[in-house]
Each structure stands twice: as C-alpha cells, then as structure tokens.
C-alpha cells in the first residue's frame, strides 16, 4: 500500500515486503524559504545555505541584520537570494512540497505588483517584532533625558550622542539609571539588552550605570556571564520588591528624575538623580507577524508570539512539519539542524498508513483540513489527502470526519470498537458485586502511562475498571463513548493530557468539547450526567490516576 494520493510520492521503496507496505519514499524540495531578513533570519539562512540548500530570504533587511555578520559570506556562496521587496501572499501544500505565492512590491503602495509561485521543501519564519516603550507605567514622560531602551541603544551607537553621555552635564561623565521588570513580566531578551547597555555605560570613562530590576528573566545563554561582567565593571543593581518611587520634575525648565527605593537591610531610602533614565520596552507582536502566522497556518502562543508553545516539540519547530520559527541565534542553529534531518538528500522515508482517506467516502467537506492541528491535510482530485510526512497520527481528523472516511493505521475505528467491547466483556468477568464497570479512554502520551504505572505500583483500582488506549484524546469519537455505554459500561472516563500540554496541540480540547456535548445529551437518554467525565493527567501521576478512578467509581456507585 502506498500513498499514491500524495503528489510528492516518487517511488515505492525497495525494502522487504512487509516494511515496504508501510513505508513510502517522498521527494522533498531542497529549496528553503526564509521569511524575515532580520539578523536571526539571515543567520538561519547562512546556516542552511552552508548545508548545501538554496535559500530565498524575503522581507526588508534591517539595520541589525548587519550584526549577524553572515550576509556577505552568504552571498558569496551563491546559495542565498535576498529579495527585499517580496512578501508571502499565500501558501499551499505540505512539508517537502510547500507551494508559496510570493508577491513583489508588496505593501509599498506600488501600483504594480507581481505574483510568482515557488516550491519550497521547508520554511523558516524569523519574526521581526517591534517595541513599545513602557514609560507611562513608570509615570514618566519621554524627553532627551528619559529615553526608551531602543533610543538609548541608538544613542550609544552614535558617536555624537555617545560624546554627550561621556561629557555629562559638567564634563565628568553621566549617571544612567535603567528601569526594567516592573512594568511587565520580563524576558531574557530584555534582560540581555539592559545588561549590555549598562555594561557599555560603565565602560565609558567616569560614567556609572544603575539597574533597577523587578522581575528579571535570566534563563538564556550568556546572561549570567553578562551580569557578572557588569558587576565586576561596577554596575550597581537594585532589586527592590516593588516599583521604585519615581518623581519626574519638568517645571520651569527643570528636567530631572529622582528615583527612590527603600533599602530593606539598612532601612533607609536610597535616592538617585541620574542624568539619563532608560525605560524598558514591551515587545509588540504586530499585525504583520499575525498575518504571516495565519497565511502559514501556524499557531501563536498566548500572547500572539510565534510559534505556540509545546513541550513535546523540538525548539524552533512549529505545529506544522517543515515550518520553523526562529526567534534567536539558538533557534537559527536548531532550525538548520532539524531542516537537514527533514530535507537530507531530497528523499525521505515515512510511514504511509498513519492516516488514510477513503476517497469513495470523502465528500471534501473540508472538516479534516480545518481540524488538523498540523496542517497535514490538503485536497486533490475531488478528495482529501493526508501527507504521510506531515501527519502526526493524532486522529483528530478521523474523529471529526462526518463520513468516517479517515482511518488511522494503528487505531482503525474497527479495532477501537473491538477494544471497547473487549474491555467491557473482560471487566464484566472480573467485576465484583456492587462495583461499577468503568471504561477509561487513555491518551497514550499521558493517561496510558499513568494507568500502567498505577497498576505496576499496586495502587488499588476497582476490579471493573478497564482502559482503552487511544493515540490522543482527540481520537475519542462521540461514537466510541456511546458504544462503551451501549456495551454496558456504568461510567466512561476520557483521560487526556493537561491543557496546554497536548502533543497534537488541541486533541485534549476537542475531547473536552465532545464530552461536554455528550454530557448534555446523556440526561435526555436517561443516564446521569456524571457517568461521563473528562479529566487531564500527566504520565507521572500514577497515584493521582488511581485516585481519580476510585473517586469516579464512588461517585457513580
């Protein structure tokens, strides 16, 4: 069986009969698209080109891109093509075979714009976020003495402004105060910017840097060293428990800021009237990045940043196979590494039957295409098609398909129906009088392991309890839950991964939605609502799992 449906299947593999039945070779385009020509975008492009792939970079090259230092070297390789006035207009296809429509002269108000379609094996997004100054949260008005972190960075990069700082008011240096981590949660990038600027100030003759830090995030490579370097150079750091008292005086031509904190050890006020105050900035996602995310159909995190967080995923990977997101140098290296694994020499061997569409049943309603959290589904020749390379086998599509036209290789509907029936039959044989018969659908990424561990550790659970293994809670069909009741279960439990922890992004949420809906219907069928529960669990929670089962058993006794 091979997936002839997939456009990029080239040849059947020459493996043993059995393996050949399940594996398929797929050709992967060796061209890579990088969206965003900032420093990290170019850094990624350089690393990818060094592996021998051709890279097209689109987006406006930023000033900081020069700092990445790989621009000229990259251009010499002839493998990197930077197209400044090009943007992505739409994207079709799947990993190994993305078909991107690029638009030239985009967004410049130019009347003439040209569209071209190009095929790429993989895509790297290097979002370029902008900043907004948080001076208002500190009650400060920006002026020549009170500046944002970005403004200050520009000042120390500019020889004229640098001279001003160096001279100070009386020609003997300046005092610069940095305010960070009081107006927002903070992140390693902003910590790094403050530490870098403070060190630069401290290294100027007669200049002193003071950092007032609230919530600082230091979990990034080199930050600890940067901090120590600053301390050794003489940077003074305060970490008060609350925002300092800040008084800005702008009356009668005066332009001063007084910062006061209470020293908890010596119990006195520590006052400072710096020559410059540098205010932290918040990173703003911006519509452009959100548009890119929606064009590429990749998820964003809670704050709109790309990509979404998923502990199961390798850093720099997005929810779609073959699309990477690069937010720093480390990401750039990781993306290049994973990209090589993906593209290799242009042929990739993948399991063919993770999920298959029955073309005769499919009515291309697009439900699977819209539900797939991995963007692995497309359509061609009047039927949906699932890319064996992009499919992660979660089964959300199969459960959502209104025609039952999708079957997972390892978890067909028939095999699951059999498992449910077997579970109930075997539970009946062992069930003790008065104890309920419980069927629990357990996600193999969490609840399955918790359940197996509970059994191994000898945590007591009712005799009439049986588990049905599913690839993801998202594969628990409404029909399966109903079947468990019809076969004779007294209670049904759907055990998924914790919210935000689903390997398939939202399989657990789909399961929860379905359970909520069936609960509403149960009462109309004459069953108590509490006979069906949804719960979340982690794989290391064996005792808790047993506890949940016992509590459920007690509730429906």
């Amino acid at each position: 069986m091979t997936t002839d449906k997939c456009t990029n299947v080239t040849e059947k593999c020459a493996d043993t009969k059995e393996n050949c039945d399940n594996m398929v070779d797929i050709s992967i385009s060796k061209d890579v698209l990088v969206i965003g020509a900032g420093s990290f975008g170019l850094e990624a492009a350089g690393k990818i080109a060094a592996q021998g792939y051709s890279v097209s970079v689109i987006g406006v090259k930023t000033a900081c891109a020069r700092q990445s230092g790989c621009t000229s070297k990259m251009l010499e390789t002839g493998k990197v093509n930077i197209m400044q006035d090009v943007a992505i207009d739409s994207l079709a296809g799947v990993t190994g075979d993305f078909r991107a429509t690029l638009i030239k002269n985009a967004g410049n108000g130019a009347e003439y714009s040209e569209k071209v379609e190009k095929v790429f094996g993989a895509i790297v997004v290097a979002p370029q976020y902008s900043y907004s100054t948080l001076n208002k949260k500190y009650g400060l008005t920006l002026n020549d003495k009170v500046v944002s972190q970005s403004q200050f960075e520009a000042m120390i990069a500019d020889p004229e402004s640098q001279k001003k700082i160096l001279n100070g008011v009386n020609g003997n240096g300046s005092t610069v105060a940095f305010l960070t981590g009081f107006a927002q949660e903070g992140d390693p990038t902003s910590t790094s910017r403050v530490l870098t600027s403070a060190l630069a100030v401290q290294n100027m003759e007669n200049c002193n840097a003071y950092i007032y830090a609230g919530n600082v995030k230091v979990g990034a490579k080199g930050l600890e060293r940067l901090f120590t370097q600053g301390r050794h150079a003489g940077v003074v750091c305060f970490k008060p428990s609350q925002m300092p008292t800040i008084e800005q005086n702008l009356n009668d031509g005066v332009n001063t800021v007084k910062i006061t904190i209470k020293d908890p050890v010596v119990r006195t006020d520590v006052e400072l009237t710096p020559d410059y105050v540098v205010v932290e900035e918040a990173v703003v996602v911006g519509q452009q990045n959100l548009d890119i995310a929606s064009t590429l159909r990749i998820d964003t995190d809670l704050y709109g940043f790309l990509p979404s967080n998923n502990v199961h995923r390798f850093p720099a990977k997005s929810n779609r196979d073959g699309i990477f997101v690069v937010n720093n140098s480390l990401d750039a290296a990781n993306a290049a590494l994973k990209l090589k694994e993906l593209i290799g020499n242009g042929i990739k061997r993948v399991a063919a039957n993770k999920a298959k569409v029955d073309e005769d049943r499919c009515v291309i309603c697009l439900t699977c295409y819209r539900s797939c959290p991995h963007g692995a589904i497309f359509w061609q020749n009047g039927a949906a098609a699932i890319s064996p390379a992009a499919c992660q086998g979660c089964g959300i599509c199969a459960s959502e398909c209104p025609m039952d036209a999708i079957q997972l290789g390892d978890f067909t509907d028939d095999s699951l129906r059999t498992s449910i029936k077997d579970a109930v039959v075997s539970a009946k044989d062992n069930q003790k009088d008065g104890q309920p018969l419980i069927v629990a659908f357990c996600c193999k990424n969490s609840a399955l392991e918790a359940c197996e561990a509970a059994t191994k550790f000898g945590h007591e659970m009712p005799q009439g309890f049986r588990m049905v293994k599913v690839p993801c809670a998202g594969k628990v069909d409404v029909e399966f839950i109903m079947k468990a009741f019809v076969e004779g279960a007294d209670g049904v439990m759907v055990a998924a991964c914790h919210e935000g922890n689903c390997k398939a992004e939202r399989g657990n949420i789909y399961a929860k939605w379905r359970v909520n809906e069936i609960q509403k219907r149960l009462e109309k069928m004459g069953l108590e609502k509490n006979r069906l529960i949804f719960t979340t669990i982690a794989s290391n929670m064996a005792k808790e799992f047993a506890g949940k089962v016992n509590a459920f058993a007690a509730a429906i006794k």
Partner: protein, 224 residues
C-alpha cells in the same frame, strides 16, 4: 440540492458588455448536479458569449470550483482574478455572495437565478421540496411539506379552497393537504391530521446562523 436556472442570455450579455476580461466561475456541487452552473455550462456560456462579443474583443476565462460556498475553494482563484475585470458566477446565490466577499474589489455578476431546494425527477427536471422554514413538520404531515406545497403554507389544513384533490389556485396544482390526507390514511394514522400544530415562527426569516451542537466552544476558541 439547490436548484438554479441560467439567466436569459440577453440579460447576461448586457451585464458583461462593459468589461474587457470576464472570468466565468462555475460551481461543482448543486448547480452542477442540476445542469445549470457546472463545468459544461461554463464552457457553453463562454462559447455563446465569445460569439456574441466577437467584434468587441471581450475575453472570457473559465474556472469551475469544487464549491463556491467554502472560502478555501474560492482561494484557489486568488492568483487568477487579478487579470480579469469582472467575475461571472454560475453558483447559487450563496456562492455568488461568498465569491463577492472573497474579491470585494471585483464586480461579481450572477449568471444563474437560484430557484429552490428540490429533487431530481429526471435528467434536467426538478421539483421544489423544501423552503428551509427552520421548523420541520414532516413528521406530522406524512412526509409531505405543507410549507412548500400548500399555496398558503398552512400548518393545519386543508383550507376551504381544496378542490377535488387540487388547489384552488390551479387545477394543475395538487392540494398539499389532500396529499397529506392520502399519505396518513395509507399508513393508518389519519387521526394525526386532527392534531393542531402551532404556527411556525416566521420572524425567523432573517439571515440565520447555525452552529452545530458541540461546536460552540470550538468556534468561540478559534475565532476569538
């Protein structure tokens, strides 16, 4: 299915006469099944238009989508519409409007009249069966729709105008309630005809939305 009929040729000709490049867009679902707006009808219409506008040099392009009532399929035209100055849709009214929403800068013109929701009686022959009233009463009317078939859309009938199996409006028009009477008595449940059905809430005839049970939370989560 939704049944449509192609508009008279003169009407279409007048609509497109002011444009230089026209893209005729067919729909591969209902209107294709009822022989009004599928791939074949697109080609036929374009041939007629080409002949009619031979001297004027209007160019006609052809595309037939899987459905015009799904944005994903309309997106297949994204890279094509730029070269046209008008779109001529052969889909039902829903498809035409969705096409116009997808390409708000292009004039979108209808090439068909959407007739009704109906059934296929033979090749090319269709009959209206449903008015999408939103309150189905077929259980009590023996599977015959009084909203569609009765001239007065009566939920409780027949009225005084029933006339020896036909309706008072015309002898060719059967009386819906006579049909209902026959069906119910044939099934031995004629007594049911005496049950008074409450009137339909006709104030529901505003643009309606349906969210299937179980999908409310999904839609809230995905579109917030």
């Amino acid at each position: 299915m939704i049944v449509a009929e192609r508009k008279p040729f003169d009407e279409i000709r007048n609509m497109v006469s002011n444009y230089k490049k026209v893209l005729t867009v067919g729909c591969g679902t209902c209107v294709a099944v009822c022989l009004a707006g599928g791939s074949k009808e697109v080609e036929t219409l374009n041939a007629e238009l080409n002949l009619a506008f031979k001297k004027d040099g209007i160019e006609f392009g052809a595309e037939t989508l899987e459905r015009q009532c799904d944005m994903e399929f309309l997106a297949e035209l994204d890279n094509k519409v730029d070269q046209y100055d008008c779109l001529l849709s052969m889909a039902c009214g829903a498809g035409i409007q969705f096409l116009a929403e997808r390409f708000p800068n292009k004039p979108v013109l209808p090439a068909v009249n959407t007739s009704f929701i109906g059934v296929n009686l033979d090749v090319g022959w269709y009959e209206e069966k449903c008015r999408a009233c939103g309150q189905c009463v077929l259980a009590m009317t023996g599977g015959v729709c009084p909203v569609t078939m009765c001239a007065k859309s009566l939920f409780n009938g027949p009225c005084g105008g029933t006339n020896k199996t036909s309706c008072e409006i015309h002898t060719d028009q059967p009386c819906a309630w006579f049909k209902i009477y026959e069906r119910l008595s044939g099934q031995g449940r004629l007594a049911q005809i005496m049950t008074v059905s409450p009137p339909n809430d006709w104030s529901n005839q505003k643009p309606r939305k349906v969210i299937q049970p179980g999908y409310e939370e999904r839609i809230k989560a995905m579109h917030s």
